[in-house]
Symmetry: C2
Subunit: 418 residues, 2 copies
């Protein structure tokens, strides 16, 4: 923790939408620990999706009531909580804003799994409906409240698409040159043209259009964080008490690639690499996620600024390199399985993240120690894992096959019976 920076921070009233989730919970604790007055809004839809998928966090996350009283015990700080569906219950949501008068809203409250968004047309429709109405409602409520609120939204690196002809991906905006009929060259800065890889990622591209519009028409102050894949589980605050433990998704739909690999290694499941594993992805550790939100809040846009876009990632890796690294560390075997997604087999990825570095982010990068630490969390709770939930079974089209390793296909029954 950078204590100097903390002292500079003036205390703010912050609403965290989706504050029960994997990123939202540690962010809420981090901001509360910095002295901000935090209020969480969450409809617990993520926990309900666990019920639907018959999967659950590998770590034993506690109900919100327990979480909040544990935090008060440990830190002396109170965090407020409202169970509201921000995509549906607009009047209730607006009322909370009027009552709480937030300076900042941090918006995590969307359906965030690409595989879940592709499972069936019901899931596609849920994702579009939930995410579009959630974001539009946040923006409408900011206007209706008449308050001068700074919105910090979690977007994804995935909106850029993967595979930009060797070009370094800029932070949100792209300088282009177009030619008129007369051959005149015009320079223009545009929103980076998106090429989303799933319905989930597509909704984040649509979010960008909402932000652009309301920023232009109503002068709303908005920061959009294009986040890489988050890895790790706990942060300084969630480690303070077992009851504060963070969510660890390991199932084929919600588990993100690096955490899934670490968990697979820990429970003795083959490391499942989709296709050749030639996909390059951007990553960030959960501790840096919470720090980036802090920095985004400290560096708010002022009136008249366009939407601020930061790339919230610290390093890029090729998926098969990660698999091999973890295999080397743990002795786990690597299994190349069918890629259930529709994407290029191999891609390069070069990303700018100068903005956060310039604001003081000191990136935590993948190191063996940290990987081991996550593996230890996974080992500790390995008995809670349902191995049948590990393979990625959601496919992008009817023609594609789930990513189930041969070993597991053959042993599926015995493993299920465990």
């Amino acid at each position: 923790m950078n204590l100097e920076a903390n002292n500079l921070t003036t205390n703010k009233k912050i609403l965290v939408l989706g504050g029960d989730g994997f990123c939202g919970w540690p962010t809420s604790l981090h901001l509360s620990n910095l002295g901000h007055d935090v209020v969480i809004i969450d409809n617990l839809s993520r926990r309900n999706i666990d019920n639907e998928l018959e999967a659950s966090s590998l770590t034993p996350i506690q109900p919100m009531g327990t979480r909040l009283s544990a935090w008060e015990e440990v830190s002396g700080n109170r965090i407020g909580f409202h169970n509201i569906n921000i995509a549906q219950d607009y009047e209730l949501f607006l009322q909370v804003i009027m009552d709480e008068q937030p300076d900042v809203i941090v918006h995590f409250a969307e359906q965030r799994s690409a595989p879940y968004s592709m499972k069936s047309s019901k899931n596609k429709r849920y994702t579009v409906n939930n995410n579009m109405n959630a974001t539009n409602n946040v923006l409408c409520a900011m206007i209706d409240s008449g308050l001068d609120i700074h919105l910090v939204h979690l977007g994804t690196m995935g909106v850029y698409g993967y595979g930009t002809a060797g070009m370094k991906i800029p932070e949100g905006y792209l300088d282009v040159e177009v030619k008129t009929e007369e051959g005149e060259r015009i320079q223009q800065q545009i929103l980076y043209p998106t090429n989303p890889g799933s319905v989930y990622h597509m909704t984040k591209s649509q979010d960008q259009l909402l932000f652009q519009y309301y920023n232009k028409n109503d002068g709303l102050r908005i920061t959009d964080l294009h986040q890489g894949i988050v890895w790790g589980t706990n942060t300084k605050e969630t480690k303070m008490d077992e009851r504060l433990i963070n969510r660890f998704d390991y199932d084929g739909d919600y588990g993100t690639v690096l955490n899934r690999f670490l968990m697979q290694a820990a429970v003795g499941h083959p490391i499942t690499v989709h296709g050749t594993g030639g996909q390059t992805r951007a990553f960030i550790n959960i501790q840096d996620t919470v720090r980036c939100i802090e920095l985004a809040i400290e560096n708010a846009p002022i009136h008249g600024d366009k939407v601020m876009i930061f790339n919230q990632m610290t390093e890029t890796h090729r998926v098969r390199d990660l698999a091999n690294l973890i295999s080397k560390l743990t002795g786990a075997e690597v299994a190349n399985v069918d890629n259930p997604r529709k994407e290029a087999a191999e891609n390069e990825l070069h990303v700018k993240n100068d903005l956060f570095l310039s604001k003081g982010l000191k990136p935590i990068t993948l190191d063996e120690g940290l990987l081991q630490e996550v593996t230890k969390v996974a080992e500790k709770y390995a008995h809670r894992a349902d191995h049948a939930k590990i393979p990625a079974t959601s496919t992008w089209t009817k023609e594609q096959k789930p990513g189930v390793p041969e070993q597991v296909k053959n042993n599926a029954q015995p493993e299920l019976a465990k």
Copy 2:
């Protein structure tokens, strides 16, 4: 009518979503008259909005039942009808698709008024919710049906934004050049970066992302028509019987600019020009709209094609020039009122429409005769007009003022009492 082209057309089963609306109704009749088998889906939300706004079509449009039996009487053709909310009743909608097995779906079914979309946060939220779910449901249903359907969607010229540094607006895609860190120049074709002018136009930009995504992932065949402002009322078919008459919106929310001017002139209301009237807009006559849909259906994309985008407009005009033209024709006075919209006071607009011209469109352009014809429709039904509904009262932000002329402000009561 180009009879040769008609003979070439093979008969198709066509679902017209939003077939009770201003564009959808004459399109349904036109396609039915060409020999296609037409089925309309509409939830009559546009008629319900008339109830809400206490406004109604200047022309006495008939209920769907009367419309359809009149059409059968006149033409001998049956058109089917289902009252379904395609944004909400997914299962019903999918069932109709399975039953009807359409070759083509023409999708008009969205909330299409920019002023209505800006009236209040409720209207913003309705527009986003209705339009996003409608379009996403259409795409999901196409996939779920397993049928090979061609989708023709009505988009708007408004997605481009108005004011592109003298550049001619291309048809959907833009060739750009970007520079890498190393100074290498890369050519790329991108979706034209949008700059929508209202929440309604923003939803059409979001629609484009849906089309791009499902075209890429599922190979859906999609034509997106970026339509200009439609003027005129009746087409060859709607003139065949008084009961087939088309909708004529004249109120401040749904009335489109040229039709509003013609109607204002006809009823002796000042022609209300927003601001300086320096806005340049693209226009198309309703008869050309229906012809363009016919051409889009005949020129369907094949598998593997990207989304086909046509600019569906035939001419551009500056708003104040239109006002002066109509004033000259009719003697009506022009009133410059506050611009309730947030937009540039003056803009140039140059638009390519080569694709439709190359497919055989012979544009009907603004001519005095046609203008007179529309004025006659307006005069005929002038007694049905509620003058209080004429000014544009929806504003883009709280700071802006409605577009009410002084003359009307002063006489508001007597006029209302008429």
